[in-house]
């Protein structure tokens, strides 16, 4: 089978799986971006909503995959990749549009049933939370750094062996453009390695610093879960950054020894597959904020977390002017998002776009 069709059949089901299972991965104090008492998470109508969303999204997703497969049989490889990438973005936006009616329905139910009335709403924090071991040490990133140094060293030692022409990129018709060998072009890969390590260290720091989320209904449990959640994703960062550095080292080696090129795609495919499987496994076993980690329960029914729904626009975008936090845990999803009322959030997004766009402009 064509490589790009393999890619399609691997990537799309993974994305569908991730998007369709989100309602099951969130904290148990939320349903479709609306905060609820933890005890209500298992209500039959809420269960039915989650099921409906997942089934709808899965069927739309699979249908799209089949159509893309048929299209993919008829166009060139490069065009196919472009169509797949664009469709992923369309698909993610589509899943958000599908989410919206569920979100509004939840809001309606919440307003009608007025759960807060009978309980004391409050917020709880642990003064020692940030003194706990929340992430693994940044020293772990010496592993990808060493791989990067190895890549640079090998490149310079073997500089004379490297062919004069290097394949740089493939255009729409599948034609490969070559570029002359130079230090600059050969530093492209080590440059990406450095950039990725810095990015991963940055994320590791963010994971340690972001605000704690302890539930008043269940302080000890939610605290333990939150710590496990952070530690696991921190370990994941070390693991992924190492694998990515190895992948890029291999790409560089295939510049040096063109005979390795035959192995290039299988290696990329294997490493990407490993990363995706680990990501999914981690998301499913841990859940958002560690909500799927089993820890003894001591439920307090008289209290409920402070309702902060008004800061969550459409249940997914956190906008709170008074909150000095830049990053917060996502509501509908696994991972972290920004406080969009904080100017630095926008600066960071701008910087990220620049870092991605500038190299593309420079090398095309």
């Amino acid at each position: 089978m064509n490589n790009h069709l393999m890619f399609l059949l691997f990537l799309y089901p993974t994305i569908i799986l991730v998007l369709a299972t989100i309602p099951y991965l969130t904290r148990k104090t939320e349903n479709f971006g609306v905060s609820i008492p933890e005890s209500m998470y298992g209500r039959d109508d809420f269960k039915a909503m989650r099921k409906k969303y997942s089934l709808l999204l899965t069927s739309i997703g699979l249908l799209t995959t089949v159509i893309l497969f048929i299209i993919g049989l008829q166009v060139s490889e490069a065009t196919a990749y472009i169509i797949y990438s664009v469709l992923i973005i369309v698909f993610i936006i589509g899943s958000f549009l599908l989410y919206l009616p569920f979100h509004f329905k939840m809001k309606q139910i919440k307003q009608a049933e007025n759960w807060q009335a009978a309980r004391t709403q409050s917020l709880i924090i642990d003064t020692k939370f940030h003194q706990e071991k929340l992430t693994h040490s940044n020293w772990w990133f010496t592993i990808p750094v060493l791989i990067t140094l190895a890549t640079i060293t090998i490149t310079f030692i073997l500089y004379d062996v490297i062919p004069e022409q290097l394949p740089m990129h493939t255009d729409f018709s599948g034609k490969v453009t070559y570029s002359d060998k130079s230090i600059g072009t050969l530093l492209l890969i080590p440059g990406s390695q450095v950039f990725l390590v810095i990015l991963f260290i940055f994320i590791n720091v963010i994971i340690r610093m972001t605000k704690q989320q302890v539930s008043v209904e269940n302080p000890d449990k939610s605290k333990r879960q939150g710590i496990i959640f952070r530690r696991r994703w921190s370990a994941y960062l070390v693991f992924t950054s190492t694998l990515t550095a190895i992948l890029l080292l291999f790409t560089q080696l295939s510049f040096i020894y063109p005979s390795l090129d035959n192995y290039h795609e299988p290696v990329i495919f294997t490493i990407t597959a490993i990363i995706m499987i680990v990501t999914l496994a981690l998301a499913f076993t841990t859940g958002q904020g560690g909500s799927r980690v089993n820890i003894n329960d001591q439920h307090d029914e008289s209290v409920i977390d402070r309702d902060d729904d008004r800061f969550w626009k459409l249940g997914q975008f956190y906008v709170n002017r008074n909150d000095p936090s830049i990053f917060v845990e996502k509501r509908f999803g696994v991972g972290w998002t920004n406080n969009w009322a904080h100017p630095l959030s926008w600066v960071l997004v701008g910087a990220l776009i620049l870092v991605i766009v500038i190299p593309i402009l420079l090398f095309s």
Partner: protein, 131 residues
Amino acid sequence: MYIQLDFESETPIYEQLKNEIIIGIAKKQLVPGERLPSVRSLASDIGINLHTVNKAYQQLKQEGFLLIHRQRGVVVHPDGAPKADEHYEQKLKTTLRPLIADSYCRELSKEQFRRLVKSIYSELEEGKKDE
């Protein structure tokens, strides 16, 4: 130690924050020399303005409960809060007068009031969590 805040209460957040910390120190849930989160970190955890946390910390510092070091950050005063003196007793009396007057109007007996005081004292001595 857990700090619990009620956002619907009439008591301002900075005051609730102060009260929680003082109760924590009384119950020995916060021990002398213990580090407290920085202003920024606590404000971010609670999701409130930096000034609110700063106000609580500054007042607690003035009252002698906390020390604010430039390097070591915010710590519970290693020597404990200053002992009650005449001036303190005078201040306490001023604070209690309207409260007792209120209870008096509602015909809460001296005995009942004393019992309340006693129960709060023993609760603090046991160091167990209230509510």
